[in-house]
Subunit: 156 residues, 3 copies
């Protein structure tokens, strides 16, 4: 019986992948913060124009859109449309009892495709490159979801 | 003791529901892609105006807002504000040991309400229809969360 | 061996924290709804300008941006960039077998920091206050992720 514990190599592979994806989300959030601090702009809330230690010289245009910040916001949005689904369906996929090899390929494929998607988007590569990496991750989500759905329906 | 394994009918019902919701998220993402390709617009990043095999004849207005694309973006945003919460609280709800009947009603109610919300939004029904389906899903989230919270606090 | 059941005090602390965070997400969604109903505006979809029982006297400006509504949308967006990651990495952190004291501090710290972030943002405190609470939550995410990643990699 598959187990949710680190002595199960499939769970260990999932846990390492999941933690990497959470860290990718956190890194993206901090990249957004760094861009806002570097450019002293791209802020969002009206109260962000008030003088504070982190913003000693407010300017009215600090809440205007700023591409350097918006790029990381778009990356984050793409993460949000992907990572939470992976984090949960990956855990359920572990419980379907796949082979270690299959699980490792799918988890590694997802992690690598999302890291490459992040790097492609952050460095403003042409659309088709990041779309290719996005598609790989999306198909892996579908594969894992279909297997979990089949296992769930069969056991109803 | 409730178990996270497919031989537990409550977990099986959860897993089937969770996989269906992940697939709904993926379908919404692909619907957005299809609308962008059909209308050759609604793109987001400046670099998407560069000539590539998927965009052989770029036009400057391809990054302008496009309602047909934005509709699926709004649907996705609504998913993001709901599905990840269901995916996790549903799993924890399984561990509170509900009756099979209660669990099946809540999981099925959530899945059906979200599928109907998706169809209502995609076909541009009036606000009150999709709001009704949204409310059903939201109340199910509250019911499951309250039970998990009570079980957690009682065991602290 | 750490177990995902309520008799495990670490899991109980996680479950209570997770349910509280899901309820925070739901409360934020309803706060957005309440603001839209109070101001009869801040709507998003073109079809929301059609006459319905919930909107008996439509006006063309009801889909214009409205700060009172947008504030809760920004809060929700911030939740989405945080809560789903906590919900999953917290569960995996339980399985790394931390001490009860450490787990309780991290879970309570996350929950309190996010509740204070919500209150700071909703009441339009200056940026630095909500940024402080955001940072605490972010660092707790990193701490838990690093421990899960280490446990996963060690067991590969």
């Amino acid at each position: 019986m598959p187990e949710l514990q680190f002595s199960n190599p499939i769970f260990a592979a999932y846990a390492a992948s999941a933690a990497t994806m959470v860290l990718l989300g956190v890194v993206t959030a901090w990249a957004t913060v760094i861009q806002m601090m570097r450019h002293k702009g791209g802020f969002r809330a009206p109260e962000d124009l008030r003088r504070t230690p982190l913003n000693p010289q407010p300017r009215p245009d600090q809440t205007a859109p700023l591409e350097a910040v918006d790029r990381y916001r778009r990356i984050m949005q793409n993460h949000l449309e992907n990572l939470p689904f992976f984090l949960v369906i990956g855990l359920l996929f572990v419980l379907t009892g796949p082979s270690v090899a299959l699980a490792r390929w799918l988890f590694a494929g997802y992690v690598v495709s999302r890291l490459l998607h992040f790097l492609s988007y952050a460095s403003a590569q042409v659309h088709d490159i990041r779309a290719t990496f996005w598609t790989i991750g999306s198909l892996i989500l579908v594969a894992m979801s279909v297997r979990v759905l089949a296992a769930g329906v069969a056991a109803l």
